[in-house]
Symmetry: C2
Subunit: 325 residues, 2 copies
Amino acid sequence: MNITMIKDAASRLEGHARRTPMLTSPFLDKIAGRRVLIKPECLQHTGSFKFRGAWSAVSALDANVRSRGVLAFSSGNHAQGVALAAHQHDIPAVIIMPADAPALKIANTRALGAEVVLYDRAGGESREDIGERLAADRGLTLIRPYDEPQVIAGQGTTGLEIATQAAELGVASADVLVCCGGGGLTSGIALALEAEAPGLRVRPCEPEKFDDTTRSLATGKIQHNTGQAVGLCDAILTPSPGDITFPVMARLCGPGLVVSDEQALRAMALAFLRLKVVAEPGGAVALAAALFKADQITGDAVICTISGGNVDPNIFANALSLLED
Amino acid sequence: MNITMIKDAASRLEGHARRTPMLTSPFLDKIAGRRVLIKPECLQHTGSFKFRGAWSAVSALDANVRSRGVLAFSSGNHAQGVALAAHQHDIPAVIIMPADAPALKIANTRALGAEVVLYDRAGGESREDIGERLAADRGLTLIRPYDEPQVIAGQGTTGLEIATQAAELGVASADVLVCCGGGGLTSGIALALEAEAPGLRVRPCEPEKFDDTTRSLATGKIQHNTGQAVGLCDAILTPSPGDITFPVMARLCGPGLVVSDEQALRAMALAFLRLKVVAEPGGAVALAAALFKADQITGDAVICTISGGNVDPNIFANALSLLED
């Protein structure tokens, strides 16, 4: 992993990924006690930054390999990113999802042109076995969600934009809070900023009980979440940082910041009220940290990502009800 | 009014107004039956395009005149735009609002640095009398919400961006649907496109029962709304097109498109689901027309504005409930 891969990914993404704006609000500045710059990747195609990594990985494949198609395991944002990137490359995409995934997510992924293969979580064949068989039969290439260099390079293009936009706004030194699951976005942004804006330091943000990266950075080795991967912030609930992403984060990032589910919901409500963007719970943890963990942050300004906006309307309405206080 | 004024306004707004992105969604394309390009001015500072016109007007004043301050009548988006533009110019702003305006709007306007003067709608002094007295006493300059050349020039900068962004996306010929109240945004965009993208034709969009501009364009002379200016689409409920805006619209725009309140709410829900942006009811009428009045539109693509996102959370939750169907 290096900056050249990220810059090459940026060239391939040009005209395909959206250059998201950098948002600000004097109301949020007041809550945080410092300037807050917000990078809303919820405005990216398919509603999350995952489209960048998916496009980067698909576009980096050898044309002959690519033409046979790609494969992903995901019921969420990565699935939609891979589906759209494949569709726009005019190649097949097979997405393997649990049979009990929400009907809307299955329908959305199909509508983006992918073939969805459902498997039974409870028993029988594992998704890995299904994937291996399909890949062998059809010559599909697996696109991993985060522990994959070209995916990390794609997510890193967010960091190139942050470097440019922060400089335009006169911010050369600040913490950059990144919503962190497996660490693809976090490590990609960190590599980009190391090269382009060394005064900006990346800090991963996670929800309580799923703070594997924060603990991994604190102890210097990969830690796992205990218990089941079910929680409000579903988009960023991964068992542990990746084998590729963790060494990058250990070198460049930290310490982590941890917020409660209620703080994530309050950040979603404030993003609605003050920025007019839709954040999903996992996509709001970095803004929550900027607003509600201000004492753990230093400097006159803070930058944070909103990593996605694919949220159930009922959960969103629930977040809005917190505004009545 | 001419293109030079709009280009001059764009120079003054550089680095102050936000260049909003152009959004798209394959899901919305499918509903509309053609490509839909969406210009989300809800992402502008203060949550609506009104900041552009306010900044343009304030920045165009002679420095000595400006330093004495500005005045506006508004309980809505224009108030917030003028308040922030004045604050950033470090000059006083006085906003005259009805005493029964929502507490949040009064608080927001004060938080942006303005002095709010409340008046009783029911009786006593009119807001015009109060405004004239304050203007005379303190040398304040009135900033009208739409029938004011420098305000129209500021709103027209939206049109310059649309011309560039549509060309980048390969759209040279299309209807441009604009949420229309008094016609400041509509006429400004129309003037910009006349000069920069003559294949793009502006069509004003309005809610049912408040279709004064549509009827004015159909009959060739200014028509008024009957009854009270109370409705869901509060941001764009004006009694009639303006004396300056109407001749521009009569020359360049039309025919108008009219949508129901329910269609506006459905467009808000789809903007949430597919674009991850927050639209207010009046700000969603153009998207509603693009999606639900497709038979009144011609061409392979349509462009529409989302003019603002300052909406009560309860109304927004109400719109989201339509997604369950």
